[in-house]
């Protein structure tokens, strides 16, 4: 095969474009991770080194144990700063985790039977209720943030995990129902018919026949619910005022609001906060992609 010079140029340009895109997408992650392993004095050089020259895990050790990194003991014209608030990140991420996991469980428990009823059963108000549930997500978050605050306060749930579990469930269940309804509508129904003929009731059909068939859909729906809750910021900001109850995004935003914050420690916080979603996004890439694709191509 002779190489066509035009095709060669085209291939080189396309590959260059891919490289640029990879740098744009992955660069920020790599930089923050690299920064989290640098000493403050190294990071504040002009220009900073992209790859740490003296990589150190001191910053991580400080966040988890409180032992002050050695780079902060160096005195010179660079001021050393230490942000004690950075140590709040571990408990905050634990809060995020508990809340997101509870939201995931509630989504599976509530949305699966509802989706089955929407996809397979015929009942009065079905279309109306379905449209109401989906339409509820069209409310801009900012418009209801204050009312949510009032509801949570009158339920005496301020600064509790339960408040965010409730709000995030209301936020994620409509998507889960929609997603699972599409999923169930698109699987063959012969098995269910056979189950019903054999005398199973609807609940048994759902439990023994439908759930095993829609497992990939349930996994994707769980991941979406988990991520939405884990990443949510506005309501968490409004509904938690005590440091002990605040979630990862809220704590990180308030740490970084301090103009004297330590850049290395904030990099540690950012790195720690993005580990769970990154693990999810990489390990479940196929299911997430298929799930997202199905929402736009299924009819």
């Amino acid at each position: 095969m002779k190489t066509n010079p035009r095709a060669l140029i085209k291939s080189v340009l396309l590959n260059l474009l891919v490289v640029l895109l990879v740098i744009y997408i992955a660069g920020p992650f790599l930089w923050i991770i690299s920064a989290s392993f640098q000493g403050e004095n190294e990071l504040l050089k002009k220009p900073p080194s992209i790859i740490p020259k003296n990589p150190t895990t001191d910053n991580y050790r400080y966040v988890f144990t409180g032992r002050v990194p050695t780079s902060y003991e160096v005195t010179g014209q660079l001021r050393s700063r230490i942000s004690q608030e950075a140590r709040l990140i571990a408990p905050a991420l634990k809060n995020s985790f508990i809340i997101a996991f509870s939201v995931l469980s509630i989504n599976l428990l509530f949305a699966t039977p509802a989706a089955y009823a929407f996809a397979r059963l015929r009942w009065r108000f079905r279309a109306g209720v379905y449209n109401f549930i989906l339409g509820s997500r069209l409310m801009p978050a900012m418009a209801v943030a204050i009312p949510y605050y009032v509801i949570i306060q009158s339920l005496k749930l301020m600064n509790t995990h339960l408040s965010l579990i409730l709000v995030h469930s209301a936020l994620t269940i409509p998507f889960s129902i929609w997603f699972l309804t599409l999923y169930i509508t698109n699987i063959p129904r012969e098995m269910e018919e056979a189950g019903l003929v054999d005398g199973c009731n609807y609940f048994q059909v759902l439990q023994k026949i439908v759930v095993p068939m829609i497992l990939p859909g349930l996994v994707a729906a769980s991941a979406f619910a988990f991520m939405t809750s884990y990443n949510e910021f506005l309501f968490a900001r409004f509904l938690t005022t005590s440091i002990a109850s605040q979630t990862g995004p809220v704590i990180i935003s308030s740490i970084s609001g301090n103009p004297d914050v330590s850049y290395t420690l904030i990099s540690v916080c950012l790195t720690l906060a993005m580990i769970p979603p990154i693990i999810l996004a990489i390990t479940m890439r196929k299911w997430l992609t298929e799930g997202l694709s199905s929402t736009i191509t299924y009819r």
Binding site: P48, V144, I146, A170, M274, P277, S293
Partner: protein, 308 residues
């Protein structure tokens, strides 16, 4: 999530005489209760508060003032400013997200070996919290120690560090850059799903007819991608108009209100001016604007459906 209503639900193929009695109602009830609690009451409450003067600095006096809150909001300079900012931001970032999504999707749809890496990392920006994404960019763009300044400086592209987030125009651009980074991947996944639905024969036929890359894109890819393009357009427009998290951490509406988008302005009314009445009136205006846009888009989608 705005795309939801445009989906047609398929009715069950066989009408069922026995409907399981109360079973369907029981299955929907728990989910419905949670959603009703956080939908119906908040909306009524918000509408009610918007007709009262509700200053957190005066906790004991809430006189009824009719539409005064709406009047105050709509006539204020800051509202006009944030509306213009939101308009510019939305047009620029939606265009950016769609171009990014199309380019990435078309690359992912080729058999090039280098796209393997792109495939693995494409979901990452979408997966992380917007607050984290905003802060990553904030440190990258930092005017004293930022890596972007460092790289440009080392390459000799700039003589001194640029204060990206302190200049009104550059701050807007930075916000858009971070937004495209965060939102583009989802658009790419959606477009890729659309591209994979286009049968290969179409491209082969075009090749036989001697169509070049651009012709094929204009006459085959784009028309067939149109329904998905519209859904992505609706979704991304809503996302851009309601952008809040990234503004909160990246620019805080500044400098000089140049990145004060409408959601940020509502937040500032509530938190900084401690004026619930105007804050909520503003939120209702936002809700109405988005509602009008959704209806317009759904009209467009509706006609699209009848054509195809």
């Amino acid at each position: 999530m705005a795309v939801t209503l445009t989906q047609k639900e398929t009715p069950p193929q066989k009408p069922r005489r026995s409907m399981g009695g109360f079973y369907p109602y029981g299955s929907v009830l728990p989910a419905l209760l949670v959603i009703v609690l956080f939908t119906i009451y908040p909306v009524f409450y918000a509408v009610r508060i918007s007709f009262y003067r509700y200053l957190l600095t005066k906790p004991n006096s809430h006189p009824f003032i009719g539409l005064k809150n709406f009047e105050d909001v709509i006539t204020s300079y800051y509202f006009k400013n944030s509306l213009i900012n939101t308009g510019i931001y939305t047009i620029a970032s939606v265009t950016g997200v769609i171009l990014f999504g199309l380019v990435v999707a078309m690359l992912l749809n080729t058999k090039m070996r280098s796209v393997g890496a792109l495939k693995i990392i494409i979901l990452l920006p979408w997966a992380i919290p917007a607050v984290v994404a905003g802060l990553m960019w904030k440190w990258i763009l930092n005017s004293d120690f930022g890596i972007l300044n460092g790289i440009l400086y080392s390459l000799g592209a700039i003589k001194s560090y640029i204060p990206f987030l302190a200049d009104p125009t550059l701050a807007k651009l930075s916000l858009i850059l971070a937004h495209i980074w965060k939102e583009g991947p989802l658009a790419a996944i959606f477009f890729l799903a659309g591209l994979q639905l286009i049968p290969n024969e179409f491209y082969e036929a075009a090749k036989i007819d001697g169509g070049g890359g651009l012709t094929v894109f204009r006459h085959i890819t784009l028309p067939l991608l149109r329904p998905i393009l519209l859904v992505v357009l609706v979704y991304e427009t809503m996302t851009a108009i309601l952008t809040f998290d990234i503004v909160y951490v990246l620019t805080g509406g500044g400098p000089a209100d140049s990145t004060s988008l409408i959601s940020w302005f509502a937040y500032a009314e509530i938190y900084k001016s401690l004026n619930l009445g105007t804050g909520i009136a503003l939120s209702i205006v936002i809700a109405l604007i988005t509602l009008v846009l959704i209806i317009l888009y759904m009209r467009a989608l509706g006609t699209e459906d009848t054509i195809s």
